[in-house]
Amino acid sequence: MLKKTTLNQLSDLAFALMEKGTLVAPVRQNAGFQFREITDAKQVDLNFHNTVISPKSVFFPQTEDFVRYKTGRPVQEAEAVEPQGKPLILFGVRPCDVKSFEIMDIHFSGTGAVDPYWQARREAATIIGYAFDVGAPAESEEFYQTLGIGAADPEGSDIFMVRHGDDLLLKSITGRGEALLAGIGGLTGASADDEKYFDDTVAAGRDFKTRFTCVDAKAITKKLEDLFHHTDFWEKASNACLSCGVCTFVCPTCYCFDICDETLFKQGTRRRVWDACMFTDFTLEASGHNPRTKVYQRLRQKINHKYSYHVRKYGVISCVGCGRCTRYCPVNIDIFSIVEEAMKA
């Protein structure tokens, strides 16, 4: 089913979606766009390239409370926080970010160990993807095409949107998407021209060039394994690295977290908080030993995890080429340039 609305009527669409569930969509903030729960339909803004933080934060928020308790001996009160499965509509997700959900599913439910918080939100979510503008060149940080992801790939979305001038075309991809789309009033039917434009855009998205040539995941995996002990290579690659956590926090496929108890005035929560392999204390053991004290060891871990270990273990590169890590790196380190250098080394 292909439907149409205009960008002028975006807030009407947003309003209709808000009646169907919690709407999470791109919102313009001080520092660029972010996915936010929408309270006012006018907040939704599709004039964005991509958000600063990836939409993984919708399913896997930076802070997630597991248990709330009061301290005392014996423990006074403790209450588990139940996973939330309210209907959720995730609106305006770029194709590379949609792909990241599939990769994250491996870790949060696919290997048998199911994370109920991730799963509850994921199952309750309808994903409305949004094609990149295939008429404009890709930003220099992006390389999703290298990883086989099109700029207008509808795969993984329940409904997929393409912008056509001032119009917005919405096509249902799954049954869930179809049900949602059918229930929204105020949309007009699409013409045969619109159908053609939609299909042409999806096809153009497949040929859409991002900056790198295609590469073979297996070859990269092998090469990175061979390079593991070449300390010179990794030291050179990490000379500029500050070892901060920007790259991992904005990344759509980084999933490491820490669990900590945070207590204030006898009220506490046991919560999950994003952690980053780039932090010194990430690998600090209780004994005081730290197997990765050097910056190069941590950067090597990050790159190997995404491009080598992950491929060996799960058969897929844990990166979708969105380019966020490169865009927000304070010292302009580019993850895929390092992989390319490795292939030449």
Binding site: Q29, N30, A31, G32, V52, I53, Q62, T63, S140, E141, K236, N239, A240, L242, S243, C244, G245, V246, T248, F249, V250, D258, C260, E262, L264, R271, V273, A276, F279, T280, D281, V295, T326, Y328, P330, V331, N332, I333, D334, S337
Partner: protein
């Protein structure tokens, strides 16, 4: 006189090669090629042929002084510095994190550096705004005549007009969006504590989660740890992925310090950091 980035780059390469060939230094800290022209990155040359990789253009914002403490004490290092970067080197010498005689300072008088994220000129609004390095062994280009007419603290006017309550509200709002990636402290040449107070868990000074209370704890403490030490290079603010104007607080504290103790951070290696130095004539204003 316009700055020739090309000439500076050539001179940097020549000096780096000479210093590495003669064995006077074992590494040169400068800038090198990034993934495109607008994104050069900090670079380390370790042998004469590495010198060819040095780049200098209007987007070389990074402060190479940040990397000085990464190398073992006694390593002979040549470091390319812009004005604010040179102040960081001076401050690190004052704090005895690096010895003056272990360094060869390649000073770059320059203006017109731009923020690659926004394309905006980096001037005295977000940094100290000086043109000429305050300390150097080799001058890479002619000194720029004159200094900025406006004060690096002029940008504070609006902030200072706020009362205490408004300031608290301002910082609460700005710091609320912090994601605790710690890019600010990692980009800061003066943040070398190992471990940083916020990473300690005995005692635990602040929460790990990016909640408003923990964010305030982290940033306010960091601001004050940098009192009299921040050399106003602005790297913390540029490193921030969510554009928190950290430089405002640092500038405010720097201004207070300068007014109270008559000394700006990192201007002379003869100075001592204001907060570790006691002088009878010091201001008691802080106690009032």
């Amino acid at each position: 006189m316009a700055v020739s980035f090309q000439q500076i780059e050539e001179k940097l390469k020549t000096e780096a090669r000479r210093l590495l060939e003669s064995g006077q230094v074992s590494l040169v800290l400068a800038w090198g090629e990034g993934y495109d022209e607008n994104h050069p990155m900090p670079y380390v040359a370790k042998c004469p042929s590495d010198a060819d990789g040095i780049v200098f253009n209007e987007y070389c914002t990074h402060n190479p002084a940040r990397y000085l403490v990464r190398y073992p004490r006694g390593t002979k290092i040549a470091i390319a510095v812009k004005a604010a970067d040179s102040r960081a080197v001076v401050q690190l010498i004052q704090e005895d994190k690096v010895k003056r005689h272990d360094l060869v300072i390649l000073g770059i008088p320059v203006y017109g550096i731009k923020n690659p994220k926004t394309g905006e000129l980096i001037d005295d609004r977000t940094t100290c705004g000086l043109y000429n390095p305050v300390l150097y062994d080799v001058l890479i280009a002619e000194e720029v005549h004159g200094q900025p007419v406006s004060s690096p603290y002029a940008v504070l006017a609006e902030y200072e007009a706020m009362d205490q309550e408004a300031r608290f509200a301002f910082w609460k709002k700005e710091l609320d969006r912090c994601i605790r990636c710690y890019a600010c402290r990692k980009a800061c040449p003066m943040c070398y504590c190992d471990p940083c107070f916020i990473d300690q868990n005995k005692p635990k000074w602040g929460e790990k989660s990016p909640d408003p209370a923990g964010n305030l704890m982290y940033h306010l403490t960091r601001f004050h740890h940098l009192a009299g030490r921040c050399i106003d290079c602005g790297e913390c603010s540029r490193a921030c992925p969510v554009d928190i104007p950290l430089y405002l607080f640092h500038k405010k504290v720097a201004k207070d310090c300068e007014e109270m103790f008559g000394q700006a951070a990192g201007m002379s290696i003869e100075d001592k950091p204001v907060l570790v130095n006691f002088r009878m004539e010091d201001s008691d204003k802080i106690l009032e």
